[in-house]
Amino acid sequence: MRLELVGKPEGCKLLRMTIDVEPPLVPSSRIRSLSIRGDFFAVPEEAFDELERKLEGTTLEELGKKFDGLIGQNGLECLGITGSGLDEIIQKELHNGI
C-alpha cells in the first residue's frame, strides 16, 4: 500500500513522503520504497539520494532512528529535516490509520 504524507514538524521545513509499505498499516510495517521531498537542505545532495535507498526495508517505527543514524555515517549535513520530524508525520498517519 502507498502512503502520501505531508507535514511541517517543529524545526523542519515542509516535508512530503511517498512510502510503499507492506500491509497492514502498523508500526512494524516494512518500507518497500520511499521518496522524501521538500524544501529542506542536505549536502551532498547525492548522498541523500543514497540514504533514501538505504531506508528501504526499514519498518515505519524505526525510520526516524535509522535516518538519523545514516546521516551520522554518511557525512551528510541536513538542515530542515530530522528523523524525529519524519517520525512525527508517520505517527500521525498511523494514529489516523489504525
Binding site: V6, K13, R37, G38, D39, F41, V43, E45, L79
Partner: protein
C-alpha cells in the same frame, strides 16, 4: 589583506543557462581555473526554480508556466520554490579551503549573508539573518538563499527581492492542499517584503535603475563585510561553453526537471 574575488555581472538569461553558468563557475573554481567568484544576474523570461529535493508537480503548475512563457528549472541546491521576476540574483563560489568557507552550513550562511545585509544597509534597509537561509527586514523576508558543496567548493546563490507580485506568483506556484489560495496569498503578503516596499524613494525608479542601484550596493556590501577585493571580469569562453552545454543537456532536460 583583502580576498581577491572575480566579479561577474552577467545580465538576464533563461533559467537553464543561469543554472548552467552557476554550475560551470563551480567546476571552474574547483579546477583552479578561476578565482573565487561573485556573480550578479537576472532572469528573462521570468522563471520558477525549485529546490533539488522538491517534487515538480507538487510545487509548480507547469502548464500555467508554459502558457505564461515562464521558465521552470530545478536547482542543484536545496530549499524551496522561487518565482524569479523582479529581483537581483547572486551566486558566490569559493573553495572549501578558503578562509570564508565555514565547515558548518549554517555558519556559512551567517557569514556570507553578511555581504547582503551590509549591502541592504548601504541602501538604507536594516536587515538581519533569519536561520536557516533567509534575510528579513522589518520582520519580513527580503532575501532567500540556498547553498551546496560539491567538488571541494561551496556554491551559494539567492535572491534579493526588488518588487513582489504575490498574486502572479501563485498563478504558477501550487497552493498546499491545506490552504486556500486567498489565505495563502494573504499569508505570503504578510511575510514577504521587497526593496521597493522598504524604500519609498524607490517607488519612482524604473526596474532597470533599481536593479543597477541594488547591485552597486551589494558589491560594496560584500566587499566590506567579507573583506573582498572585487575584480570585474567576464566568464571565460570555457565557462560559457560549459554553461550552454549544461543548460541544454541537464537543466532543460525533463529527466532533471522531473527528478522528483
Amino acid at each position: 589583506m583583502a580576498y581577491e574575488f572575480r566579479l561577474l555581472e552577467t545580465g538576464f538569461h533563461r533559467a537553464a543557462f543561469n543554472m548552467g553558468l552557476d554550475e560551470a563557475l563551480l567546476r571552474s573554481v574547483a579546477e583552479g581555473r578561476s578565482l573565487p567568484t561573485l556573480r550578479f544576474y537576472g532572469w528573462a523570461p521570468p522563471a520558477v526554480s525549485i529546490g533539488y529535493f522538491q517534487g515538480l508537480h507538487e510545487e509548480v503548475d507547469a502548464a500555467a508556466c508554459k502558457t505564461a512563457g515562464i521558465d521552470v528549472v530545478r536547482r542543484i541546491t536545496g530549499g524551496g520554490a522561487v518565482f524569479h521576476h523582479h529581483e537581483v540574483t547572486y551566486s558566490i563560489v569559493l573553495p572549501l579551503s578558503h578562509p570564508l568557507a565555514r565547515p558548518n552550513i549554517l555558519d556559512s550562511y551567517r557569514l556570507l549573508l553578511g555581504g547582503i545585509i551590509e549591502g541592504l544597509s548601504i541602501l538604507g534597509i536594516e536587515a538581519e539573518f533569519a536561520p536557516i537561509n533567509d534575510i528579513i527586514a522589518g520582520g519580513k523576508k527580503i532575501s532567500g538563499n540556498a547553498q551546496t558543496r560539491k567538488l571541494g567548493c561551496l556554491l551559494q546563490h539567492g535572491t534579493i527581492i526588488l518588487d513582489v507580485d504575490v498574486d502572479r506568483m501563485f498563478t504558477v506556484l501550487k497552493v498546499p492542499q491545506e490552504k486556500t489560495r486567498g489565505k495563502l496569498i494573504e499569508d505570503i503578503k504578510s511575510r514577504v517584503t521587497s526593496i521597493k516596499h522598504c524604500l519609498p524613494q524607490s517607488e519612482s525608479m524604473s526596474f532597470e535603475t533599481l536593479y543597477a542601484t541594488t547591485i552597486q550596493s551589494l558589491k560594496k556590501g560584500f566587499a566590506k563585510a567579507l573583506n573582498l577585493a572585487l575584480v570585474s571580469s567576464v566568464p571565460t569562453e570555457a565557462e560559457l561553453q560549459l554553461a550552454e552545454q549544461l543548460a541544454q543537456e541537464k537543466f532543460s532536460s525533463q529527466t532533471w526537471i522531473t527528478l522528483r
